[in-house]
């Protein structure tokens, strides 16, 4: 019989601990700031006037000016795009709290993003080299002295969860001892136009799992986690995970939550004892219903569940990384954070959505994620007791 503990590798020396992290969103440039705003139930989603005619769309934007100022203090002689600035500041903040040696051949850098420097692509102009994601990753990796060739995961909205799952698998395989995963995406005209064309953007700040939800709010942000074989000061580890495809539709989720059900079932390894679910919860009609079906099929619908997207929107390729970091800190703080925006239950199958933040001992938690292309991923985090 397989259980969660056996999947971690051959021995307890082969674990994947989250040893350092950083989050940058509209709620702040450090994990601490972001969590303190989540504690206060503050949203960073606001009515910006970013592009075109999409003035109605509430969006979560980072403080680019502050980020630029911080970057100048670190790398004064290089210029960066907005995308790169976010990645670099997040990476810098996570590495400075860590003893990981970027220059070791046993350390890997993984970049997770959906569209990278897409804002450099202009109509009628030959694409610059920095459009290519591997070039972006190499530029960033070079600044910090990583010597292993960086890996880029570009798998729609599950990129972040997949990148962390890949980090765990690299550590289990013995190839690397430390893997630094940075997930980043920015709000651009390109992405706004795309989601608007799908009519999937909400006119008000998004309301995941609410009866009156009417779409997602786009967000930009970065998250960095350092996953290490050896435990350092903190004690949350990635124990298992899986991905799966719906094999149903390229732009709509499965009606039955097929792929997400399979991914989570494989991630849970027959041990459905979990204390909290961090859902994908984009607040589109289809996504949230689909997740409710998958969670009910797994018979874990009594477990408290939230979506963090009410705080800083859907950060696309950064979402999985940022939300896994928030799950980690939920566990360390033994706190269930409110699913912001949820007022009246309104998903197809019943869920135990967290409407008031509360203390609870969190030992084992599940992170879910789904995206275009019918892709789904799930990861289980455990506290090392």
């Amino acid at each position: 019989m397989l259980n969660g503990k056996e999947n971690g590798g051959c021995s307890k020396h082969n674990m994947s601990y989250i040893t350092s992290d950083n989050i940058i969103t509209s709620l702040g440039n450090t994990t601490k700031e972001v969590i303190s705003n989540i504690e206060k139930e503050t949203t960073g989603i606001d009515y910006h006037h970013p592009y075109l005619n999409y003035t109605k769309a509430p969006i979560s934007m980072v403080n680019s000016k502050k980020i630029q100022e911080e970057i100048i203090g670190i790398f004064s002689d290089v210029t960066f795009t907005r995308f790169e600035s976010l990645a670099i500041l997040s990476l810098h903040n996570a590495l400075k709290n860590s003893i990981v040696d970027a220059g070791s051949p046993k350390t890997l850098f993984i970049l997770s993003t959906t569209k990278g420097n897409i804002e450099l692509l202009k109509q009628g102009v030959k694409p610059s080299d920095q459009i290519f994601l591997h070039n972006t990753a190499q530029k960033i990796a070079g600044l910090f002295g990583f010597i292993a060739r960086p890996v880029v995961v570009c798998n729609a909205c599950i990129s972040g969860v997949l990148a962390i799952l890949l980090a765990k698998r690299y550590i289990d395989s013995g190839k690397y001892d430390d893997v630094v995963v940075t997930g980043v995406d920015i709000v651009t005209e390109f992405v706004v136009a795309g989601f608007e064309s799908f009519k999937s953007m909400s006119e008000k700040p998004c309301k995941p799992f609410d009866a009156n939800r009417d779409g997602l709010s786009l967000g930009e942000g970065a998250g960095t986690v350092i996953i290490s074989r050896r435990k350092k000061s903190e004690s949350i580890k990635i124990v298992s995970g899986s991905s799966a495809n719906d094999a149903n539709h390229i732009s709509g989720p499965s009606r039955t939550g097929e792929g997400l059900y399979l991914a989570a079932k494989n991630a849970l390894l027959n041990n459905h004892k979990i204390d909290f679910i961090s859902a994908h919860g984009t607040a589109t009609q289809y996504n949230d219903d689909m997740e409710s079906h998958a969670i009910n099929r797994l018979q874990i619908n009594e477990i408290p569940v939230n979506s963090f997207k009410g705080y800083f929107g859907h950060t696309l390729g950064a979402a999985g990384v940022i939300e896994i970091i928030l799950t980690k800190h939920s566990m360390l703080n033994n706190m269930l954070y409110t699913s912001l925006g949820m007022e009246n239950a309104g998903v197809a199958s019943p869920l135990n959505v967290i409407t008031h933040k509360q203390k609870k001992t969190l030992s084992r938690c599940l992170k879910l994620s789904s995206g275009f292309g019918g892709c789904n991923a799930a990861i289980v985090l455990e506290k090392d007791e």
Binding site: V153, C154, N155, A156, A193, F195, N245, D246, I250, S251
Partner: protein, 217 residues
Amino acid sequence: MAATPQLCLKKMNKELYIVKNITIRNSMVISDGRELYSDVSNPDFKSFGKDLYRKLKCNYPKFFKMDTLCKLTFLANEFITRDIDLTPYNKDKTAVVLSSSSSTLDTDTIFTTTIHAIPSPAVFVYTLPNIAIGELSIRMGWKGENLFLIDESFHPENIVDQVNMLFTASQTELCLTGWTNYLSPTDYHVSLWLISEHKNVQTRKLTSMELLNDFSV
């Protein structure tokens, strides 16, 4: 719990085999080193791809809605899954892992020209490279693991690593993996491999060298 060390030992000794390879580039289709079809008078993928679709008699109208990266990947997948008995493999345990350098640049460029006019969701969705995995999954009913990576160029050792990790860490029984890259109508290259744990007279042991030989034909 006592079974854990044995389980790991067994998994680490797992040998993997190439069931079949397909490469499409320069208006040629090559399978395991053998040319299946070529038409050097037709260097433009847009018309060469249509010819291949007709030749394959797929009867799959969704093909015409796909972007170039998906069309290229789809055609290679049609060739690789023909004349192979996939029934022994559980579709829920069939994984797809692809890499690319140009990713969706072709479609990104098209979408950029529509942003100030009427952006189309049917174009936007193809600005994500993993849609190619989604298209193959729908075509084949595959529901296993997914991963799309962006790399500067084809690195066979990276594919070997990825596939090894999948067969070790997940329930994967069959994996479609490879490189798919569409930069322009005359600069495209797809090389796909089906990988399994089962050895037979037709299979070859999975090594970086085998992958490189297939890729470079």
